[in-house]
Structure formats: C-alpha cells, structure tokens
C-alpha cells in the first residue's frame, strides 16, 4: 500500500494546480523568521477561491505561523519577518504600500481559544464595522452576520447579554460572526475547534461548509479527521532538524484532500495520516 506506481510524485516546490483552481493567495518561497530563527522554510502554496484549505502537521511544524502570515498578524510580534512572497490576487501582501490594517479587514481570523470581547453579543458583532467606519444600518448587519454564523436563533432574544455568558461553541460561532460582519473575502481559522466539545465541533464544521459558498477558508487543525472531513485541499507540514540541531517547519505535501488521505505521495505524509508519528 505504500507507493502506487501510477501516482505522480509531487514535491512541495510543485504544488498541484488543477485548472479549476482560482488562486486567492499565491505563496512563493515563503520563509518566516522570528528574529534570526527561521521558523518555516520555503513554502509554496496556492489557496483557491471559495475552497477550504486545511493545514495539518505535528506541533511545532509552523502551520499556525504560516497562517498568521496571510493577515499579517505576525507583524505584531517584534522581530517577526518573512522572506519570499505572498500574493493576494496580484498584490504583494508584504509590499511597501500595503497597510496591514486594510489587509486584516479583508482577511478575517478566528482563533484557537474563543476570544469574544467582554461586551454585549451585539457589540461584539458591531465592533468590526464600527472600527472600520461602516455607517450602514447596524441592526441589519448584526442580524445578517449572526444568521450566517448559524447563531441568530440562539441569541436573538439576548443580544444585550455579555458574550461570555455563551457556551464555548456559541462563543466561537460569535467570533465567526464577528469576522463575517466586516465582510472579508477570506477567513483564517487557527484550530477553531480545539477548545470545543464534539457537538460544538460538528456545528462549526457544518458552518464551514455553508461559509464555503461565499468565503475562502484556511484552517489549521491538529485533527486529521477534521481536515479530511471539511477541506478541499490539504497541506501537510512537518519540522526538519538541520545540521545545527535547529527545527524548521517545512511544507511536505500539498494536494487535494482526497489524494493526501488516500494516495499521499510522500512517505512522511503517509506516516502521519496513518498515525505512525506525530
């Protein structure tokens, strides 16, 4: 079962690019540094529009680090910088003229631990539009975002209640609603279900399938079954130890999810998804 002769072996340098893929992001030879430390090396990826791209791999392989490059969240960490390129459509995300605040408005993010603001549910959703100076009818906008996040029916009678009164799963959907409210094109999700129980996880996964109709989603997950269930494409990362004993994250394989999980072309991917390591 190890190697099928009819499978093309694709290295990370040559990502699988079927004609149907309409790239929102083009990652070219991306390396991410924290100070002098090269956390992730030489990543090439294409992120398809209105697809769900999963990033999997063992702890410390740099998948979250890469995710946080897409909305320039790493800029907030002193000393963090990148080499290589991320094109958003045709614009260099790290170009001199690019305003990270504008980037983050278009590319939303949902975090590992639900982090609603300690404010009313309504104000959580309205926060993004307000700070972005959107003057539209806020009530409609809030309802729309909460509806899209499959939370409206549960909270419509208690919009003035503190968001922290919600359950963990509801809080995470609120965070998704909050991200949607600023009308992003892309939503980055950094292990969005790792703090949730299985039922809440299922709800978020169902929600992702809904959101896929309108948004491009990138998800980092520790849960391989989740990646297999929800994503169209999967990127498998791992960490190499170089001759000096330093760990560097690396993209091993990037392909359609069905291929990654049925006919991985790299031995390391296969070992990982079959549970032999990591």
């Amino acid at each position: 079962m190890t190697s099928q002769p009819n499978v093309t072996i694709r290295g990370p340098e040559v990502p699988n690019t079927p004609g149907s893929l309409d790239p929102v992001f083009t990652v070219e030879d991306l390396s991410v540094f924290y100070g002098d430390y090269e956390a992730v090396r030489n990543v090439d990826m294409l992120i398809g529009r209105r697809e769900i791209t999963a990033m999997i791999g063992p702890s410390g392989c740099g998948k979250s680090t890469v995710l946080r490059c897409f909305n320039r969240m790493n800029d907030l960490i002193p000393g963090a910088h990148i080499k290589g390129k991320i094109l958003y459509h045709d614009e260099n995300l790290y170009g001199d003229h690019v305003d990270p605040i504008e980037v983050r408005r278009r590319i939303g993010m949902v975090f590992q631990k639900p982090n609603p603001f300690p404010k009313a549910i309504y104000d959580n959703v309205a926060y993004g539009p307000r700070v972005n100076g959107i003057k539209r009818n806020m009530d409609d906008l809030v309802e729309e975002a909460l509806t899209k996040a499959a939370l409206w029916d549960e909270v419509k009678d208690k919009l003035k209640q503190n968001a922290l009164s919600l359950s963990g799963g509801q809080q995470q959907r609120l965070c998704i609603a909050r991200a949607i409210a600023v009308k992003p094109e892309v939503i980055l999700m950094d292990e969005p279900c790792s703090a949730l129980d299985p039922i809440a996880t299922t709800k978020i996964e169902d929600l992702m399938q809904e959101l896929r109709q309108e948004y491009t989603i990138l998800i980092v997950t520790h849960n391989m079954q989740q990646a297999a269930r929800v994503s169209d494409r999967t990127a498998f990362f791992t960490a190499d130890v170089d001759s000096a004993g330093v760990r560097h994250g690396r993209l091993v394989e990037f392909d359609q999810t069905t291929r990654i999980f049925t006919k991985p072309s790299d031995k390391r991917t296969e070992d990982y998804i079959t549970g032999r390591f990591g």
């Binding site: 605040i101 504008e102 993010m109 975090f111 603001f117 300690p118 926060y127 993004g128 700070v131 600023v182």
Partner: protein, 313 residues
C-alpha cells in the same frame, strides 16, 4: 497487615503517619495571620480613636452649626464651626488633581502597556514610580515657588493669590499620576492578549484596540487606581498646606487661597491645641468627616465597578 514482599527502598518511611511534628508550618501560619491582623487592627484603632472625641465635639457644637453655616475658624475667637469652606476646598483641589492625573495617568498607562517596547517599558515604569517617591513637601515648595509665579506670569488675568488652590491642585495631580498610571498599566497588562488579537484581526488600529477593547476590559482595575488616587488626593496634606494656604474662605475660585480639611488638621494639630479643648476635638471631628467622605467615595466607586466592569474569563 501482611509483610511486604520486598524490602522497602532505603529511606522510605515505614508508615504514612507524620514522622515528626512540623512546628515551622504552625509558626509561619501564625506570623502571616498576625501580619494580616496588624492592618485591620490599625484601621479599627483609628476608627475607635476618632469616635470618642468626635462625639464629644458634637456635644458642644451642634450638627446644625457644623453643617449649616459657612464660616470656618475654630481657632479664632469667637470660634466658628461652619465646615463647608474646608469641604469645598478639599473637593475642589481633589477635582483639579483628578482632572490632571486621570488623562495623563491613563495616557501614560496606555503608552506603557500598548505602545512601548519591552525595553522602553523597563526604563519608563521605574522612573514613573520614582515620581511617587518624591516627598510631597518638595511638590509643595515647587508649587509655591515655581508653578504659582509662572502661572501668574502667563495668566495674569486669573488673579492668582500667592497661595492658591490651582497650583496646589495641579501638583497634587502630578503627585498621583504614578498611582493612576502604574496601577492602570498593571490592569491593562493583565488583559488577555487574545482580546487584542481579536481586535487587530478585525482591522482595528492600535489606538482603537487600546481605547475600545483594552481599557474597557481593564476598567475595574483602572477605576480602582483612580479611587486610590482620589483618596490620596483628598487626604494630601503637605502640598495643600504649603501651596494652598490656611485661609478658610467660602469660595469656589481656584485662584484664591483656601484651606482643605487635611491642611486644617495639620495646622491645628501642629499648634498648641491642648488635649480636651474645643480646637483639639475639632481636629477629630474633621478627621472623622474626611474618613467618612473617602469611605463613601470608595463605596460608590466599588458599586460603579460592579456595574460596569467587563469580566474576561
């Protein structure tokens, strides 16, 4: 009890019972309890010490005169016991101080917590805290000999007296900036980073994140800082005695000389008021009133905090 199959490892106790009493633990517990009791006992002692002379005072001076008239001069003859002038002076100087300290202190806290690099913070915060260690007598003379002349020079239309509430209030404000800044900064630094990230990820700038997420989340800590600052300002003695003066006139004009409650206590207490005399008892009556005022402010702000705070976690 059956014998063990194998001999116990060397050094392991035969039984789980305590092999020797731990006196040290008992001693430490006792020392800690006594330390905690000292501050409570002091507070109780202060209250007890205040109550008796205060009751005696009100047996000689009526409540009506104390709260119903506006001439203050317990040390004059004939004495006058209308307490309002010194209450007004206290509140006015406290207000000026808060108007100085809250904006500057909060701005400093936001800078330190949200903008400063770790290196800058490491230098700035101790420097700020040194300001808290400057003896208030220094602030007092600075107000009297520098700030007042400069204000007179720049704003002659204010008609500042040589001693006035404005300079005193400004310097009391400067004195309490470190309290507001340092405690607020602690409260803001305790706000989970996840909240900041959530805000940045929605396209909020640093300023918006600070003002709309971090400050509200740290609100209860900030209010606690301001309460403490108010209490310190209301009770501040040296600065107001030196730069504010001792003249008790019923006025709202901050350009005038005015005596606060604390200044009166210092003045009367350092004079020759003999134990049991009316001026002596007056000191305690004013002391009680100041105590009640600060206590009341603390209570109100504690309620406000309860009502408006944003609990995270």
């Amino acid at each position: 009890m059956s014998a063990p199959v194998r001999a116990a490892a060397p050094g392991s106790p035969k039984s789980l019972a305590r092999s020797r009493p731990r006196y040290g633990e008992q001693l430490i517990k006792a020392i800690l309890l006594i330390s905690a009791l000292v501050s409570i006992a002091t507070t109780v002692g202060i209250i007890v010490a205040l109550v008796e002379p205060t009751i005696e005072f009100f047996s000689e001076v009526s409540f009506g005169e104390f709260f119903g008239s506006t001439t203050w001069g317990p040390l004059f003859s004939p004495p006058a016991f209308g307490v309002w002038p010194i209450i007004v002076a206290t509140l006015e100087i406290t207000l000026i101080a808060i108007l100085v300290a809250v904006p500057l202190g909060l701005a400093a806290a936001i800078f330190l917590s949200e903008y400063a690099t770790p290196r800058v913070r490491k230098i700035f915060k101790p420097v700020l805290e040194v300001l808290a260690g400057v003896p208030t007598v220094v602030f007092g003379f600075f107000a009297l000999t520098f700030v007042t002349p400069v204000l007179k020079d720049w704003f002659p239309f204010l008609g500042l007296e040589a001693k006035n509430a404005l300079s005193a209030g400004l310097l009391v404000g400067v004195m309490i900036i470190p309290i507001v800044a340092s405690l607020s900064e602690d409260a803001m630094a305790a706000v989970p980073n996840g909240l900041r990230e959530g805000s940045y990820a929605l396209g909020a700038s640093k300023m918006l994140t600070s003002v709309r997420v971090v400050v509200p989340a740290a609100f209860s800590g900030i209010v606690a800082a301001v309460i403490l600052a108010i209490s310190r300002a209301a009770g501040e003695t040296m600065i107001v005695a030196i730069a504010g003066g001792f003249k008790s006139v019923f006025t709202l004009n901050p350009a005038d000389e005015m005596a606060t409650m604390a200044a009166f206590i210092a003045q009367a207490g350092s004079g020759d008021a003999s134990v049991g005399s009316i001026p002596y008892k007056t000191i305690f009556a004013v002391g009680s009133l100041l105590f009640i005022m600060t206590f009341f402010m603390n209570y109100v702000s504690a309620r406000l905090v309860q009502k408006y705070r944003e609990v995270y976690e």
